[in-house]
Symmetry: C2
Subunit: 678 residues, 2 copies
């Protein structure tokens, strides 16, 4: 008796014997190998491409001859003629296994392919999308056996895909009959599952084989900015990114001003809900237009945001978040229809997923950072700070993860800064000040040169030097401190005290001139005493939040720090530490994670398994409420000094010695003002 | 050892021993006795009222003494003081069983109480509503154990009601926090289950105990009229009924004209969808206003309608229903949100159930008639005809049920009739013509007197005699046939041929004057030759449909006939048979079921079990498509004569002898015109 052929699939290593003549796709399904197919084995979608390997494979104990796969049949030949198959590739649904063979499933043919993040800390995401395409041939109606078209589609999905039962909302029901007839009873359906075992929802239908892909949006809805990443739901690739200012800013710069607006203004919450939903619709239209993608192909969106943004997006009055005990209306992850959120530029049946919130002040954005940075998987104790108008702070390792949110205000984003501006061409993004001459060197966005390098003036002529962005102000303040222009209390010295003519009087305080463009009709860009106070408030809140977590954990140092946030990648670790934004650690233990919250949104967009993971993980996170913790105020006040009134910074002092200047014996710290959260 | 007390519940007869001190409500739950409670045993809702019985109960083998129940406790006493408990009643949640006792659960305390229909054919509906109230005490938020309010509500429902998990749409999430706080963490929630084992949906929330009831609408959406019954979801009682014309009439009187309008007019289907949804919203507002019920308390609606109305209500282009093979977009029952249907006068979270369709021309209205009249439970062979613009016809017994739909047109509803009008005061609803004098007697809606009785003129002075309604035209035509004013071919004789001056010329044909009010400024109400033709078309379609079902079943007679439809109750069986609307059966075997489709909608509104039953039953019904069946045309032509060209009517001839007049040897039957469906 001849044995059935042995087939070994790589890279999975799964192996088994199948009867001669079994198509590769069927063998893969039988052996549990992840091999994609949209057309269900009709040889038209080419998603099941495989690369057979021939020769001796000692590792697998196989000798494979070219005849181990059947000759090209008509379907495969026609596909190759029309679309072209790469050298060495076969259609898994057509090629039959005739003898022992090793078959490689290339990444592009795997449903659960790995997507490697481009960020510094590369982490693979296994694709496990909630929305998938299925090509299906539906039976034509028969008057003598009357059934609805939907019921015949269901029958076909059951027979051809093993999918038992779907739901279809009215907008899809209205599209069903024309699509079936236009496609001559062959259609591609997009089915969305809210969970692996949930009844799939029909979210799109196209006549024939749909080949233009389907897309999703990962949206980071911040208090100040809204960022969206348009993502291919098949490959996980980001095809376009775009940002827009949150128009709610006109109702209040920080979160608590918006909560106050909702409390004080009848209909105020609704007004803010409408404004953010409109902005989202605009952003979605723009990003689709930019990527040249039909918005009708955007079938999903995931959202991360802080609790106030979360409630305002959902149309829930955030009043309870403005007062203890800061009760959320709901903390669970939410599955919604795009229509429920009034996202008019998405198809009505597009599905929306909101990550879970952790607590009244620790939102889905913090959950997203946890999903992206996985502090709970860290061997050493890691502090993750996601810097924004509100900072999300996580501290943890395999043993335990703690989280809090801290009201930094928008200063780190360049707002509430006298010469502040968004990170755009012309904005000062890096600053170095010579401690001897007290003269600054600058770099502006859009030009790689420093201002003392030849060609700088020409290169920046078009953009000009227009202001300071978030990372620029951090560097400027830190450099002023290093150069002795600013004392530990945060006071800018006068020209006499500092010996620099760039210290100019401004009312009863002083400002430091970074750039004077007035001769050319440009602005005078200075760092004022008010700017210093705003930065002090922000950095004190950040540091105090971190320290509160450390207290709760019972430690007074961390092993490493991850800086995340929209400009996390641009903050110099040295300067952050000079300012005292973060606790003292070796400088090489400070890394950047880019927009971790946005990455968390992307991960959730690409993977149902990741959604379930973060829904579990948030329950294990210890929430620390900064607003009611007396120690937070103490830490906040102590952190007002630059870098700190009492905590030592031994690692920092290996790299820089801060002058012990003191411009005013009675210098008043900025931290004693009563602050509102934000 | 003393035995635990024995408790016997009536009327269920369920019995068992429970430890002394067990509250009656707890004992009922333990023994599976249907005893209602909204407040969950807190002694505030009084839904669990019981009537203990004392004495000797030989039947149950029990002797029960007054001390068998505990004395009134404070809660019960306070309830009695504030609200009053009827003599002999106790609160089941407070009264404890102390000795052997017989406890009667009055109908009002049963969840699954029987609601007896008022119609002639009394049939009990067991209440099994999809939406129920639950009073619940929710834990207050705790900053140190942060959870959302929804999650705490879920926890409370689990602990207090054993309900594991609910869903809450955004409009309810937005109401949750204010309701919890206003009710001091006690709220009443309305939970809707689409199926007995489905996750309940939160559809309403009120602070504290909600005592104003909840309501549902049973809606019969007809081509010509829309009828709604506002129903108490607790008792099943109809608290108000109202009707409105279907405004789609302006797009076409019958179904096929509306399908044509959708085909010929871009946006036409959408326009009709909008118009019917607006009318429904108006109707709902009106009925709520009439019943003095806050529309926010209307949490459910069930719809029955024919397939074209079904698709237009759902926003689905009905074009496929205008051509073979008459494919429905979906035939299954549908669960929807009121917001999906744009029913703006209902709360956004109100739930809508559409009964299943049977086939492309046999809709949810036919399913509703089947649910109401249960032909499949009949011992003898019953023909059910639901008369409307489209007639739904069912034939069956325990062995098999067949169904078809027949395009009668709106003549039976008084439309397309020269003097036709809606059934309203002033409309002629009954007619008798003296075969000797050929003079008519009339009865009009709003007056119980016949026109030859004293006082008729005075009694009708206010309304006048304004036209003929559906039942009036049927009687008029039948009486004209009996009196020899109309021949078997449907031709009205001239004054010379009939010997009656009431036969007046009208063009080349004749009309019969029923009432001449012109002297008093009123109308001339006649039955014209055109009216006769319209009635002939309608009745031929009805009879042909019934015959087609009889052919398919292989019978040439039925045992009984049920006349249903908006005016089914008003049709005289004799006159219906003279016209040949229905097959010949003994007159006492013709009964009326009132608005059977509307009753089916009410049954589905009150009972989840009934929804599941009709969803199963429709699959067992044999659908017969009249539009493609050549025999339908043959039957239609033969049925054009009054009562019929060839079928004998022996039962009819026992009651009346029809004159064998023949006014024109070349009389042309009306049935040969090519007809459109509708």
């Amino acid at each position: 008796m001849t044995q059935d052929p042995l087939v070994v699939f790589t890279p999975s290593g799964k192996r088994g014997r199948v009867p001669a003549g079994t198509p590769v796709l069927a063998a893969a399904r039988q052996l549990g190998v992840d091999l994609d197919s949209v057309c269900g084995g009709r040889g038209i979608c080419s998603k099941c491409q495989v690369a057979p390997a021939f020769g001796d494979f000692a590792k697998h104990g196989i000798h494979s001859e070219p005849g181990a796969l059947s000759e090209w049949n008509k379907v495969e030949a026609r596909y190759h003629e029309k679309r072209g198959l790469a050298e060495g590739r076969r259609l898994g649904c057509q090629a039959q296994i005739m003898g022992d063979v090793v078959i490689d499933v290339p990444a592009g043919s795997q449903v659960h392919r790995q997507v490697v993040r481009k960020d510094a800390t590369a982490r693979a995401i296994a694709m496990d999308p909630a929305t998938r395409l299925h090509f299906v041939e539906v039976g034509a109606p028969d008057m003598h056996e009357p059934t609805g078209d939907l019921e015949r589609l269901e029958r076909a999905l059951k027979a051809q895909w093993g999918i038992a039962g779907i739901r279809a909302a009215l907008p899809l029901l209205a599209q069903l009959q024309p699509a079936l007839r236009k496609g001559d009873w062959r259609v591609t359906v997009a089915l969305h599952r809210r969970a692996a075992d949930a009844v799939p929802e029909l979210v799109a239908i196209w006549p024939g084989l749909h080949e233009d892909g389907i897309f999703g949006l990962a949206i980071d809805l911040g208090s100040t900015t809204i960022a969206a990443h348009l993502t291919d739901l098949d490959t996980g690739a980001v095809v376009a990114s775009a940002g827009i200012m949150n128009p709610q800013i006109r109702f209040g710069e920080d979160l608590m001003s918006r909560v106050s607006y909702a409390m004080m203004t009848p209909g105020g919450a609704l007004e803010m809900t409408r404004s953010v939903r409109e902005a989202l619709s605009t952003l979605i239209s723009e990003i689709a237009h930019e990527a040249k993608i039909d918005p009708a192909l955007i079938l999903e969106a995931t959202f991360v945001c802080n609790p106030v943004m979360h409630h305002l997006l959902l149309g829930i009055d955030p009043v309870e978040l403005g007062q203890a005990p800061f009760a959320l209306a709901t903390s669970s992850a939410l599955d919604l229809g795009a229509d429920e959120l009034g996202l008019t530029s998405l198809p009505a049946c597009a599905q929306v997923y909101l990550l879970p919130c952790i607590a009244g002040h620790v939102g889905a954005d913090a959950a997203a950072v946890a999903l992206s940075e996985q502090p709970g998987q860290s061997e050493d104790l890691v502090l993750v700070v996601d810097v924004g108008t509100n900072a999300e702070i996580l501290l943890g390792d395999r043993e335990r993860v703690l989280a809090c949110s801290s009201p930094t205000g928008p200063a780190f984003e360049g707002a509430q800064i006298s010469s502040g501006q968004r990170a755009a061409p012309g904005a000062i993004e890096a600053v170095r000040i010579d401690p001897g001459t007290k003269e600054p060197r600058l770099r502006v966005i859009g030009c790689p040169l420093w201002s003392d390098e030849p060609g700088f003036a020409e290169a920046t002529a078009a953009s000009g030097i227009t202001g300071i962005c978030g990372s620029g102000i951090i560097e400027a303040v830190a450099e002023m401190r290093i150069a002795g222009l600013l004392d530990a209390g945060g006071l800018i010295g006068s020209a006499e005290q500092t010996g620099s003519a760039r210290s100019i009087p401004e009312g009863r305080t002083h400002a430091y001139v970074l750039h004077d463009g007035r001769a050319d009709g440009g602005p005078l860009v200075t760092v004022t005493q008010g700017d210093i106070r705003a930065i002090q408030l922000a950095k004190s809140a950040l540091y105090a939040g971190a320290r509160l977590l450390m207290d709760t954990r019972g430690v007074d140092r961390v092993d490493r720090v991850v800086l995340a946030g929209a400009f996390g990648a641009h903050i110099s670790p040295l300067h952050a530490m000079v300012l005292g934004m973060i606790p003292d650690v070796p400088l090489d233990k400070v890394s950047s994670a880019g927009n971790a919250a946005g990455t968390g949104a992307r991960i959730a967009l690409c993977s149902l398994a990741a959604r379930r993971q973060i829904e579990r993980d948030v329950h294990a996170i210890t929430k620390v409420e900064t607003a009611i913790e007396p120690r937070f105020q103490e830490h906040f006040v102590a952190a007002n000094a630059i870098p700190h009134a009492s905590d030592p910074f031994p690692e920092l002092s290996r790299h820089v010695t801060l002058p012990d200047t003191r411009f005013n014996a009675h210098a008043e710290g900025g931290g004693r003002r009563r602050r509102r959260r934000g």
